[in-house]
């Protein structure tokens, strides 16, 4: 089916849609709606990930302010905390993916979070653009479909 609507201007697209039958048009609209939903899901996932990275960055900053030897409660499970002392708040282990962890300082760790957040933000912007373009196509398809159905129906 026609997937990329790259070079086609809106006028050309609508003209193409007018040529299609009601069935074909319905299929196109459903397909585009599905794509829009998928893109929305991805956008939500990116937003969640960005929030988590932000929280991590804030937690790191907080950690760097704590003095060494400070008493703290260490979570062993979700409901079990054990008293302990803060050892070295300068070094942190960062999960960089595929099972690899890197030892970094809190400053480097915050830098890592910032970099990831930037990367996610640029992905988010790209996806947002793509999603709004698809939504436009879906709306156009819906409008042409309605017009066609009305054309076929008013035999009163």
């Amino acid at each position: 089916m026609a997937s990329s609507k790259g070079p086609a201007s809106p006028a050309v697209r609508v003209a193409e849609m007018e040529k299609m039958s009601v069935e074909q048009l319905k299929a196109v609209k459903e397909q585009t709606d599905l794509e829009v939903n998928l893109l929305q899901d991805s956008l939500n996932n990116i937003r969640t990930a960005t929030t988590r990275l932000d929280l991590a960055s804030v937690a790191l900053h907080d950690l760097s302010l704590r003095p060494q030897g400070k008493k703290m409660l260490v979570p062993l499970t979700a409901s079990l905390y054990v008293p302990g002392t803060l050892d070295d708040s300068e070094k942190v282990l960062v999960d960089i993916g595929t099972g690899y962890f890197v030892e970094k300082t809190t400053v480097e760790g915050k830098d890592y979070c910032e970099r990831k957040i930037h990367l996610l933000k640029s992905n988010y912007d790209q996806l947002l653009e793509l999603a709004s373009k698809k939504k436009t196509v879906a709306d156009e398809a819906g409008a042409v479909l309605q017009a066609k159905v009305k054309q076929l129906a008013p035999q009163t």
Partner: protein
């Protein structure tokens, strides 16, 4: 002429071809899924490689093997990730070739199914007239 046996045979032929077509389509769908998984892994590994390249020579790298965090040499970690990226890229190329071949088969099956359908229609039209 349009004997019921000929119609039955055409119908059987149609069923066989239709089954083949749906099997090819299922294979294409499976290929897409595996492809997606590999593409995601490739992306993740490339991110890891970038991070590793930003590190100083003496930085500590650990790998999570099961429940154990094992200290790894930076050079070794780099080599491992690069090898993995190579492997995944090779797999993706292989899958690409396979899916292209499958798509060609799908198209030719579709044409074959269409031809059998047309013959059946012609035969039945001939029967109706007779």
């Amino acid at each position: 002429m349009a004997s019921p046996a000929a119609v039955r045979e055409l119908q059987r032929d149609l069923e066989n071809k239709a089954n083949d077509l749906s099997k090819i389509q299922k294979d294409i769908a499976k290929n897409h899924q595996v492809r997606k998984k590999y593409t995601i892994q490739l992306g993740e590994n490339e991110l890891v490689l970038k991070e590793l390249e930003l590190l100083k020579e003496d930085a500590n790298v650990y790998k999570l093997i099961g429940p154990v965090l094992v200290k790894q040499d930076l050079a070794e970690a780099n080599a491992n990730v690069r090898k993995r990226i190579e492997y995944i890229s090779a797999e993706l190329k292989r899958l690409d070739a396979i899916v292209q071949d499958l798509e060609e088969k799908q198209n030719s099956k579709r044409e074959a199914v269409l031809k059998v359908q047309q013959r059946m229609q012609a035969l039945q039209a001939g029967k109706a007239k007779a």
